[in-house]
Assembly symmetry: C2
Homo-oligomer: 355 residues x 2
């Protein structure tokens, strides 16, 4: 059946009413196979242009009937600035005006940093993700969104490059990952693969909605701020599309890393099989690991240590290389001590992990 | 038998006489399994501090009896500067003084660049490697050395990063590779893994030997020069060991790349097997490639196209992605045209390459 002129006009209007920003978000939403109906998805909103634009665009998609999803807003006051209480009130007011529920809490990040010996940025990140996990559980939501942009991606790639990272670090921010291992909650970044920071700002302005400025974004004591204000502009003088290029570097590195981790896992399974006793994974056959390419060998050893130890805290490349050296030669009795006190020993054709 | 005091003293003196630079070169020489006797190894010498220091250190190792190897010197005059004829004479005089034979030739790189549509840097590199290959053949040498340093490595990594490269590009300069596919001549960079450019300069000075300065090293129209003069110094303000860190990035990327290319080759062999007819490699079974991780899938397709086509000239990522898209879905008849006119078509459960 052909559409009448009137129908066609309405359809066109319906389509053109959706902003370009919301349309791009919807395309990414579908590409990531996120639920379009009957779901609850937590949106982390700091009040900056990134997260405000995300919330506004999701609201556009809800209002236009493209998404039938509940979007509770989560805001954590890190109490790193005197004005942070105002930010929380501002975010609550915005969510209320848009008719989304809000969970806002506050945590004294500086105290936690002292307790955990993390730096402020790490402590803030840990506190934030713990908070988002709690909110997801309380709300029975399986998905949490953060509004990282392609600019955040480029900055993360460069920060890791400056440290001399391999493909794990160069992979940068993952568009989809688990919020915590075994948590069953997905952490999704629906802007990171396409939205520039400037896009989020123009979209907020076009919607006539204000956003907050974080003065820490201007504090050049933070490496990330200097990457943004000094390094990226210089790199843009070589390649005006540098942010997109670094995002591609990240995509390629994540693809490489995924293929290599999978391969390393197969080697690991081979090396710990036929050990049916309890704690059998704490013994590793040397041969299958030794004969693998070095990129796989080192990844298999790291996976093995993570399985034995529960985590990779304070484990550096130098420790993996020391364990790797146990694979070479025949001589048993050699031992490598890991941070925290666990040991790996070479025993004939096995490596053995002991606490 | 114990050594006499006199013997011991002589041995110590013999050891301490070797400069730190020459000792580090010797360590790398052994690590790379290069021949310590009865061999002829071509040394490419431009006259800059890098190649002069390499030649001087090799000579130290010959004089001290550590290496019993013939080192003919190869110099190519690119005729890009008026004074380049003087450089050639200077290199000839240096080699003569050290009693090594010299092959010096000249080529008008600017003319070749016009003919081949390469840019000047590419044309110079092609001309240089063609020349080194000729010299190796004429001299019956299986190894050619170039004096790339760790600084060259860092610059190469950054230039490729600026382009948005994957691990192939981030792998930078290979310490050992074939000079040309199937050539049987190894191209070795015995300085790239450890020597800073400043080390080569101080070593030349310590030996009291002059070196040439290439004014093109100051020409900021070249991206490489701007990377050296602007980008690396800014990055060093984040990490004073940035050159070493970027060299590690390159090492890790090369390791990843090697493991992935090997894996991709296995997939490719699976996908072209059971096709015993001539030209069978021009038919590729879809299933083994389709089911691989994307990092492997794309590498397998690139390897396949290189085998069918003979090279990868002008083949961009976009072409690989287009061929990859033929793997998805069942519909035959779809065709992708490659630069130069060859085509890849989907035919049922096969991809078919035709010129």
């Amino acid at each position: 059946m052909m559409k009448s002129h009137a129908q066609k006009r309405t359809a066109d209007r319906g389509k053109s009413k959706l902003s370009r920003f919301a349309r791009q978000l919807l395309r990414e939403w579908k590409r990531l196979n996120l639920p379009q109906a009957d779901a609850r998805v937590v949106v982390a909103v700091s009040g900056g242009a990134d997260s405000v634009s995300l919330l506004l665009a999701l609201d556009e998609l809800v209002q236009s009937g493209k998404l039938n999803v509940d979007f509770p807003v989560a805001h954590l006051d890190h109490r790193l600035r005197k004005s942070s209480g105002n930010d929380a009130r501002w975010v609550k007011a915005l969510a209320k005006r848009l008719r989304y529920s809000v969970v806002a809490r506050s945590v004294k990040v500086s105290q936690r940093a002292v307790a955990t010996q993390d730096n402020l940025e790490q402590a803030a990140r840990h506190a934030r993700y713990a908070f988002l996990f709690d909110v997801a559980k309380e709300m029975a939501a399986q998905i949490v969104l953060t509004a990282h942009t392609m600019d955040d991606q480029a900055e993360t790639v460069l920060l890791n490059l400056l440290r001399g990272s391999g493909s794990d670090g160069l992979g940068g921010i993952e568009p989809v990952r688990l919020l915590a291992q075994g948590s069953g909650v997905a952490l999704v970044r629906p802007l990171v693969s396409w939205a520039r920071r400037s896009d989020t700002e123009s979209y907020c302005r076009a919607r006539g909605v204000d956003f907050l400025m974080d003065e820490m974004n201007d504090d050049q004591r933070f490496a990330r701020v200097r990457v943004r204000r000094q390094l990226l502009p210089l790199m843009a003088s070589f390649n005006p599309k540098i942010v997109e290029s670094l995002a591609r570097v990240a995509d390629l590195a994540r693809e490489d890393s995924a293929a290599l981790e999978k391969e390393a896992d197969e080697i690991l399974q081979l090396a710990i099989s036929n050990n049916s006793k309890t704690g059998a994974h704490k013994r590793l056959k040397v041969q299958p690991v030794w004969s693998a390419a070095s990129a796989l060998r080192r990844r298999a050893l790291r996976q093995w240590i993570r399985e034995c130890r529960g985590d990779l805290k304070r484990l550096e490349r130098v420790h993996i290389l020391a364990v790797e050296s146990l694979l070479f030669g025949e001589r048993g009795g050699r031992v490598v001590e890991l941070p925290g006190g666990a040991k790996v020993a070479r025993k004939r054709d096995l490596l053995e992990y002991t606490e």
